[in-house]
Amino acid sequence: MEFALSEEQGILSDSIKKMFDENISVDNLREHSKGDKSLRKTIRRSIVDMGLPGLMIPEEYGGSGLGVLEASLVAEQLGSYAVPSPWVGNSIMAPTAILFEKDYHLAEKWLPLIASGEITACISLSEVIGKRGDLGLTANGDKVSGINIFGIDGELDPAIIITAVDNNLILIETDNNGVEINEIPTIDSTRPVVEIIFDSSNYQIIPGGKEVIQKTIDVGRIGLAGDLLGASQNMLNKAVEYSLERKQFERVIGSFQAVKHMCAEMAADLEPCRSLMWYAAYSQDFISDEANLLACHAKAHLSEVGQDIARTSTQVFGGMGFTDLLGMHYWFKRIGLSRQILGGPERVRKEAALIQGFEI
């Protein structure tokens, strides 16, 4: 037994960190939030150049054949740098869905394109988890119509959309197929979400029924948990760093126990999340009977801890945390969005209870 990251996994994290260090700053996140899309393009190019989009795609389809744990380590770095680029939907959920029953036709057609970065895949499953009003899709023969919201990774003209209708996961091509995609403005300017309007769009069923829907959501939740872990750790690190520079009453504020204890509490809450995250991500590939429950716990628990850290670390910065000058609010907001997409904590915990046979 070995409960630790391997050397290769450590190298993967470090190399991504290095790439983001060179490419991303609060200044360009700010430009990006004002509508300058150049950061989106440069980052995407760097991610593609590193061969990351196909991280979980088998080598025979042009990917690296790694697992959910490695993908969640990448998600952690994306959260840590608030990276505006597709990941959880495109590189974790889409390959998992298509590979679930090894449908060779779908896999041969789409996985090499995702791996090479030629296309992106948008995932839209909010209506499966919690449908609002009359949103969602209706199937009529081999066509679907309706409106989905909170699709993820839909900002780079995705070639395909993976969504669900009538207990089936489906794949819809976007080209000339009655599909309209619009970005929804949310608190989180670093990671766009989209509304998708389908008007008699042709679709194909991804085989696997309810099980593939569940598995796709599980790995998506793991990815979001990774993003939350990285974003939270970054906020804590930055708060500690700031507390060692900022002086009041002729002392650095990090020497006051009031501030130290806030930071210690954040660290005490967050550190066990790392082990939860590793175990939950590992279980997706290797411990199938625990995978579903652990995905729920990782997502819900990191959402709670993340929210506390987002609030508390902002307070460590005092007034500066509240301003746009330091830009800590990009992480505050990213955590806020991650908490809600693919199910807020209460909804996900209800699933965790049901999985264990506790009836509600």
Binding site: K260, A264, A267, P272, C273, S275, Y279, I287, L294, A353
Partner: protein, 400 residues
């Protein structure tokens, strides 16, 4: 990450299971805080003979003499806990003194005490805290002055659990009054039957006396009962404190407690509805379950880190703070599940086990405070873990 156990461990687990199956009739109930009964002493001997207690203590000192293998230790703990069979004794002598003697004791001390301690024949208490020296332990004032071949000890200790039934005390005393506070302390072994020792039970909020005060008046202790050198007691004590902090906040205990709560929720009804079907209770249960799982995985991470010498400093520093808080929150949840019945504390026909939970709820608050308060833990986490500075000394009336 590789969570598969190798074949050696699969076999080892089978051995543990068959031992438990064959011998569970001997194990008796979990121990109460009194001296071990004959049955308990026999059980302890059986566990040591089979390598399920004192596992890594060398054979020459009465142990089983196995090499340290964290995974095997974990398998033993898991299977005993699953079978609800008490593990080997875990008193302060075994958990704290024995590792210290193995590391820093003289040959005579090892020969005199280790075997008798692990067998349960000799029971120890810990003499660290004093009324004026709690979080600031190194300021302790109990004095030991050399007189011929003895130290003569005067002073007072507090928070001494088990003092009234102990044979011996491992104790911190000030031997060098003129040295800086950390350098004037020595670690001595005191016979609790010595003339001049008075033990007074200390009644706590639980209604029981889980702790004592111990008073020393001209108590004579032979000079060879010092562990380490004179003035090096702080170093010796820190070796033991590390062991204590590992004991407090054990995630196996939280996992057992969570399972007890699930059973309670499946049995108890309110207005005819089982508690396990109440969505509000279930939400709280799931929140606690996530914390219990996180701490269990954190301990797996620590096992690997200690085995492979990996850095997991923060993961270690947070165990006492988180584990004790989690246990307390679990007890609080159990009481809320029982509602009004949860307040029953004493004999009543209406008691559904609340006495146990109320005792834990109060006693665990004591554990949040004891063994290094939560506040001190947060100082340690922020200083040793996050690199934040110590708070400068306050100046009161012009004095530091």
């Amino acid at each position: 990450m590789d969570l598969n156990a190798g074949p050696e461990y699969i076999d080892f687990r089978k051995n543990v299971l068959s031992f438990l199956e064959e011998n569970k009739h001997m194990s008796g109930k979990a121990r109460t805080p009194v001296r071990p009964s004959n049955e308990e002493l026999e059980w302890q001997k059986k566990l040591i003979d089979n390598g399920y207690a004192a596992r890594t203590i060398p054979k020459e000192y009465g142990g089983y003499g196995a090499d340290s293998d964290v995974l095997k230790s974990r398998i033993i703990a898991e299977e005993f806990s699953r079978a609800n069979i008490p593990m080997g004794m875990a008193n302060q002598g075994i958990s704290m003194l024995v590792p210290t003697l193995l590391e820093l004791g003289s040959d005579d001390q090892k020969n005199d005490w280790i075997s008798k301690t692990i067998s349960g024949e000799v029971i120890w208490c810990q003499g660290y805290s004093e009324p004026g020296s709690g979080s600031d332990l190194a300021s302790l004032q109990t004095k030991a002055i050399v007189d011929g071949d003895d130290f003569v000890i005067n002073g007072q200790k507090i928070w001494t659990s088990g003092a009234q039934m102990s044979d011996m005390m491992f104790c911190l005393v000030r031997t060098e009054p003129d040295a800086p506070k950390h350098k004037g302390i020595s670690y001595v072994l005191i016979d609790m039957n010595s003339p001049g020792i008075e033990v007074r039970p200390l009644m706590t909020m639980t209604g029981h006396a889980e702790f004592n005060e111990v008073f020393f008046t001209d108590v004579r202790v032979p000079k060879n009962q010092i562990v380490g050198k004179r003035g090096e007691g702080w170093h010796v004590a820190n070796a033991t404190l590390t062991h204590e902090r590992g004991m407090l906040g054990d995630p196996n205990q939280s996992a057992t407690r969570l399972n007890e709560i699930i059973e309670l929720m499946q049995q108890e009804t309110i207005n005819g509805e089982k508690l396990i079907n109440n969505p509000v209770h279930l939400d709280r249960l799931m929140r606690l379950q996530a914390r219990v799982l996180s701490m269990s995985f954190n301990s797996l991470r620590l096992l690997t880190a200690s085995h492979k010498k990996l850095d997991a400093k923060m993961a270690k520093l947070i165990v006492k703070l988180n584990g004790c808080q989690l246990n307390h929150d679990l007890a609080g949840f159990a009481i809320d599940l029982l509602g009004e019945l949860g307040t029953i504390y004493g004999k009543s026909n209406h008691d559904h086990g609340s006495g146990k939970w109320q005792w834990k709820y109060m006693f665990d608050l004591g554990l949040i405070i004891g063994g290094g308060t939560a506040q001190i833990q947060k100082n340690i986490i922020s200083e040793a873990g996050l690199g934040m500075p110590r708070e400068p000394k306050a100046i009161i009336n012009g004095k530091k």
